[in-house]
Subunit: 340 residues, 2 copies
C-alpha cells in the first residue's frame, strides 16, 4: 500500500513540540512501515524559537539542533519570529499540532484551533484550554468542516484514555469517572506517605521537573479541574468548564495526616471525581482495595464506572515530553485510520 | 442520520448468547439513538436450544423466554435442531456472532468462522479457539474477503483491551505483556490470602459460578495460556498457539505460602507473561507496588510495556455474561464505525 503523506503545522516548540520532533526523527520509517503513513513537518512556529516553513518537509533532527542552539538574542533560533496565527492561516498543511502551554484564558490556543479548522485542517492539541473551555464549539466547528478535533495528550499524556470513549467503551454508558489526573500532587502524596514534609517533597518535585517553580496550578487543583472538565465533556457528553469544578487544594491535608492514613491502610489521594451532577477535585481518603489506592508517584489512573461493564481502570504515565508526544502520534494515527 | 441495519447470525445460546439477547432487548433504542446502528437477529442456532431463522428480525425478548422454558425433551426450545454450519451457510446475515464454548480443538468454532467469512460475513467471537489456534489464517481470510474478524470478549470480557492495539496503543511498540487473565485463579488466591484453604476456596468459587465443576482448565492454566496466545498474536504480531505457552498450575503453591506472602507484602498472583521470546503462565510473586499486586477477586488486569509510553495497565472485569455480551456490542460498534 502506498503511504499517505500528512503535512503538519506544529505550533509550540517547548518540551512537547521537541518531543514530537524527536519521535518523528527516530521513528518515521517504522511508522511508515507499520501504518502506511508519512508525517511531514510543513511549518513550525514558536513564540520564542521563531518560525520555519517548508512545504516539502522540515528535517526534524536538523530543526531540533537549531532549536537547542544558543539564542543570539536577535531573532528566532529556527527562523524569524512570526505570528503563529498568520503561519496557520498560510500553512500548506493538513493537520495543526497545537502544543503551546495551557493558559487560563484558553488563548491563543483556541484561536489557533478555530483558524485551522476553518481552513479545513484537522486539529490535534495537548493544550487543556480549547477542550475544557470550548469543547462543544470546537466539536461543532470540526463537524461542520469535516475534520477531527483530538486532544488525547491533554488529560493523561499518551495513556489511552479519551480514545476509549469512541473505541472500546463507546457503548458502555459512563455513569461516573474518578481519577488521579495530576502527577505532581500524587508524587507529593507518595513522598509524604514516606514521612517527608510537604515543603521538602515540593522542593524535590521541582528538582525532578515534576513541579513548576510556581506549583499553584497543580497544588490548588486547576490542572486537575481542567482535565476533569475535559473528561466530563468527552465521557459523559456534558458541557463543563474548569470553573464548574469544585476545587480543594492538596494543602487541605498535611504530611502527618497523609503518613498516618497510609500506615492505617486508608491512603489519601488527590482525586478528580465526576458523577451524579457533581464535579470535584481534592484530597480523598480511599479504601485499601480501591483501584486508585495503589497508584504511586507521578503515575496517573482513571476509573470509569459504566452501566454495561462495571468498573474499568486505566493506569499509565500522566506526563513527560516523550509520553505526550506519543499522544500526538496516537491522534495522528487516528486521523490516518479514519481517512482510510 | 438514518440508522444502518446489521443482520446478525448468533451461534450459541449459552450464558453469553443469552446475555447478548438481553442486551439487545434492553438497549436497542439507546444504541440506535447513540450510534445510528440497528442490530437485528436474523438467525439463532444452538446445539441444544435449536434454531430459529427470520430475516425480518427475531424478537430477542421473546427468544429468551422460549430459551428459558422447560425442554419437552423432543426438540429444541426455540425451534427444530439444525446443524449450525448449515444455518451459517444459509443465513441472510452480515455478521456472525460465534459464542459457542471454547474447545481444545478449536472446533466447531473455527469451521463456523471460516464459513461465515467465505460468505462475506464479518465475524465476532468470544471463543478462544479460533484466535488462539488459527489467528493468522483467520486474519488473512478476513482480509481477503474484506471483512473483520474481532474477538474482544475472548480475553478480558468487555474490558477494552484488544481494541487498544488498533486504537490508542497502535503506534506504541509493545515490548512485553503481563496479566492476570483468569478470574477463577485470582479469586482463589484472594481467598487463600484471607486464610482459606485451596479446597474450601474452590468450593466457594464453584458455588458462586466463578469456577467450573471441573476446574482444570482454569487451575492448570489452559484458559490463561489461550488468552496469552491471543494477546501475543494481537499485541506483538506473533504466531503463538496455546501449546507454545509454558504452563505451571496454581497448585504449585499452597494456601499457607499464599497467605504468608501476602502478609509479608510480596503477594502471589497467577500471571500470564509475554516478552523476550518467552510465554509463560503460572504463580509469580510480585512486589507490593507492581500494578497487578492490588488486583483482587475475579477482576482481571493486563500491564502492557511499550517502547513509546512505558507501562500502561487496564483493570476490569474478566468474565460474566453481561460483561462478555458487552464485548460483542463493542466489536459490533467497531464494525459499524469502520463501515461509516
Amino acid at each position: 500500500m502506498a503511504p499517505r503523506t500528512w503535512r503538519l503545522a506544529l505550533v509550540g516548540l517547548g518540551h512537547v513540540g521537541k518531543g514530537l520532533c524527536r519521535l518523528l526523527a527516530e521513528r518515521a520509517e517504522q511508522i511508515e512501515a507499520d501504518h502506511a503513513a508519512r508525517f511531514l513537518l510543513a511549518a513550525v512556529s514558536d513564540l520564542s524559537a521563531g518560525t520555519r516553513v517548508d512545504a516539502d518537509g522540515i528535517d526534524p533532527k536538523e530543526l531540533l539542533e537549531a532549536a537547542e542552539a544558543a539564542d543570539d538574542g536577535h531573532g528566532g533560533r529556527i527562523g524569524e519570529r512570526a505570528d503563529s496565527l498568520t503561519v496557520i492561516e498560510a500553512a500548506e498543511a493538513d493537520i495543526l499540532l497545537e502544543v503551546t502551554p495551557t493558559a487560563a484564558t484558553g488563548e491563543p490556543a483556541a484561536s489557533y484551533c478555530r483558524a485551522a479548522m476553518r481552513r479545513g485542517m484537522h486539529v490535534v492539541t495537548t493544550n487543556k484550554g480549547p477542550p475544557s473551555l470550548h469543547h462543544r464549539e470546537m466539536r461543532e466547528l470540526a463537524k461542520s468542516h469535516g475534520v477531527q478535533f483530538l486532544f488525547e495528550g491533554a488529560v493523561m499524556s499518551g495513556s489511552p484514555l479519551l480514545s476509549l470513549f469512541r473505541g472500546g467503551l463507546a457503548g458502555a454508558q459512563v455513569r461516573a469517572v474518578t481519577g488521579i489526573v495530576n502527577g505532581t500532587t500524587n508524587y507529593l502524596i507518595t513522598e509524604m506517605e514516606a514521612g517527608i514534609s510537604f515543603d521538602a517533597a515540593l522542593s524535590r518535585a521541582q528538582e525532578l521537573g515534576y513541579a513548576e517553580a510556581n506549583p499553584r496550578a497543580d497544588v490548588d487543583g486547576h490542572d486537575a479541574a481542567a482535565k476533569l472538565a475535559i473528561l466530563a465533556n468527552v465521557a459523559m457528553g456534558r458541557a463543563l468548564t474548569p470553573s464548574d469544578v469544585a476545587r480543594e487544594p492538596l494543602t487541605a491535608i498535611d504530611a502527618a495526616q497523609v503518613a498516618a492514613a497510609a500506615a492505617a491502610g486508608r491512603p489519601w489521594r488527590y482525586v478528580a471525581s465526576l458523577g451524579n451532577g457533581a464535579a470535584t477535585v481534592g484530597p480523598r481518603q480511599l479504601d485499601a482495595d480501591h483501584p486508585l489506592a495503589g497508584v504511586r508517584g507521578a503515575t496517573n489512573a482513571v476509573t470509569i464506572e459504566t452501566e454495561m461493564l462495571g468498573e474499568v481502570t486505566v493506569v499509565g504515565p500522566g506526563a513527560g515530553p516523550r509520553e505526550t508526544a506519543f499522544a500526538l502520534l496516537a491522534d495522528l494515527l487516528e486521523i490516518h485510520r479514519s481517512a482510510a
